[in-house]
C-alpha cells in the first residue's frame, strides 16, 4: 500500500515537471499579447476618459501597467507580464465605463433641466407641481 503511494507520487511529480517545462517553453517562445490592453486604452481615450478625472486616472494606470507588462516581458518574466496585462485591461475597461457614466449623467441632467425649463416657461399650462425645481436634479447618486 505504502509502495503504491510512492509510485503515484513519483508519476505525479514527473507529469508536473513535464508540464512545467512545456509551459515554460511555450511562455518563452510566445510573444506577449497586448492587443486587448491597447485596444482597451484606445477605447477609453475615444470615450473621452481624458476629460473625466476619475476615468483619466484609470486610463493612466492602464498605460503604466501596459508599460510594466512590456518591461517584464522584456526581462523574460512572462507570467508576471501576462498577469500585469490583466490589470491594464481592467483599468482600461473601467476608464471606458467611468467616461460613459459621466456622459450619461450629463445627458440626464440636461434632460431634467429641459423639463424644468419647459415647465418654467409654460406655468400657465402646467398647473401640476414641478418635480424639477431649479438646481435640484433627480439623480440617484
Amino acid at each position: 500500500m505504502r509502495h503504491v503511494s510512492k509510485i503515484r507520487i513519483m508519476v505525479f511529480a514527473a507529469a508536473t515537471a513535464a508540464t512545467t517545462i512545456i509551459a515554460a517553453g511555450c511562455t518563452t517562445s510566445a510573444p506577449l499579447r497586448t492587443d486587448a490592453s491597447t485596444s482597451g486604452i484606445r477605447a477609453a481615450e475615444e470615450a473621452g476618459a481624458t476629460e473625466v478625472p476619475q476615468a483619466s486616472l484609470h486610463l493612466q494606470l492602464a498605460k503604466e501597467e501596459l508599460e510594466r507588462a512590456n518591461a517584464l516581458a522584456a526581462k523574460d518574466e512572462k507570467e508576471q507580464a501576462v498577469s500585469m496585462l490583466a490589470r491594464a485591461e481592467a483599468d482600461a475597461e473601467l476608464a471606458v465605463l467611468l467616461s460613459r457614466e459621466e456622459t450619461e449623467k450629463s445627458e440626464a441632467k440636461a434632460a431634467v433641466e429641459r423639463v424644468r425649463q419647459l415647465r418654467q416657461d409654460n406655468k400657465f399650462a402646467v398647473v401640476t407641481n414641478n418635480p424639477y425645481p431649479k438646481g435640484v436634479s433627480n439623480e440617484n447618486e
Binding site: S83, L97, Y132, N138
Partner: protein, 297 residues
Amino acid sequence: MKTNNNILVFTACAGLFISCAATVPTELVNAREAYRRASTGVAARTAPAEVHVANQALAKAERSFQEKSDSFETRDLAYVAERKAQMAEATASITIEQENQAKAKNDYQATQGKIIAKTNQDLSKTRTALAASEQSGEMAAVQLSAEQEARAAAEKQAVDAQAALAKLAAVKEEPRGMVITLSGSVLFASNQTTLLPEALARLDQVADVLLTTRERNLTIEGHTDSQGSDSSNLTLSQARADAVRNYLVQRGYEADLIRSNGLGEGNPVADNGNAEGRANNRRVEIVVESKMYTLNQ
C-alpha cells in the same frame, strides 16, 4: 501522545492563520471592500450580472491567496477583482442615469402634450370670444347706423319744419330756442281774448308744423303794447297766451309740454310811440325750446 499531536496541529493551524492574516495583500483587502460595497448597494439590483462577474473574480483571487499566499498572481487577481466590482458600480450608475433620462424625456413629452392641449383650448376660447365680439360689433354697427339715420331724419324734419314756419310767421333762433312770432292783430280783435276765425287758419298751419316735432316743450308768451294799465295788459296777455295754448292742445299737442305766460307790456320789440310799433308789440310768441322738459317737473 494523542494530546501532544492535537496541540501540535492546533499550534500549526494557529500559526498558519496568523501568518496568513498578517500577509493579506492590500489589493485583496481593497477587492473585498469593493465587492462588499457593490453587492450591498444599488449595483446588486441594477447590475446583477456585473456583480456576479466581480464575485467570480474575487473568488479567484481568494483561491489564489489560499494557494499562493501573497504572490504577484494573488495581488493582480485581487486588483482585477476590485476593478470588476468598481465596473459593476459604474454600470449600475449608467443604468440609473439612463432611467433618469428616459423618465425626463417622458415627462418632457407629457408636459409638451399638456401645453399643446392648453394652448389649443385657449385658442378655441379666443376664437369663440373673437367671433362673439365680431358679431356684437356688427350688431352695434347696425344699431349705430339706425340711430344715425333716425337722427338725420329728425334733423331734416326740424329743418323742414323751420322752413315751413318761416313762411307762416316770423321765426328767429334765440338761446332759449326757436321763437315764432304771431302778430296780435292777426289773432285777436282789439282788447279781446278770443281767437279770430282767420287766426284759426293761421294757427292750424303753425300747429301742423309743431305737431311734427311734438316732443319739444313750448312756451306761449303773450305781449301787449303800452296802452292801458300794466295789470290789465298782464291779464290780457295771459288770457291771449292761454287761448293760443288751448287751441294747440285742442289740435293734439301734449298739454304737459305747453305752458303759457302773460308778459304784458314789459317786453316791447318796437316803439310804442307810433301805431306801427304798437302793432308789432301786440304779439304772441311761441318759443319752441331746444331742451326738453315737462311742466310737471
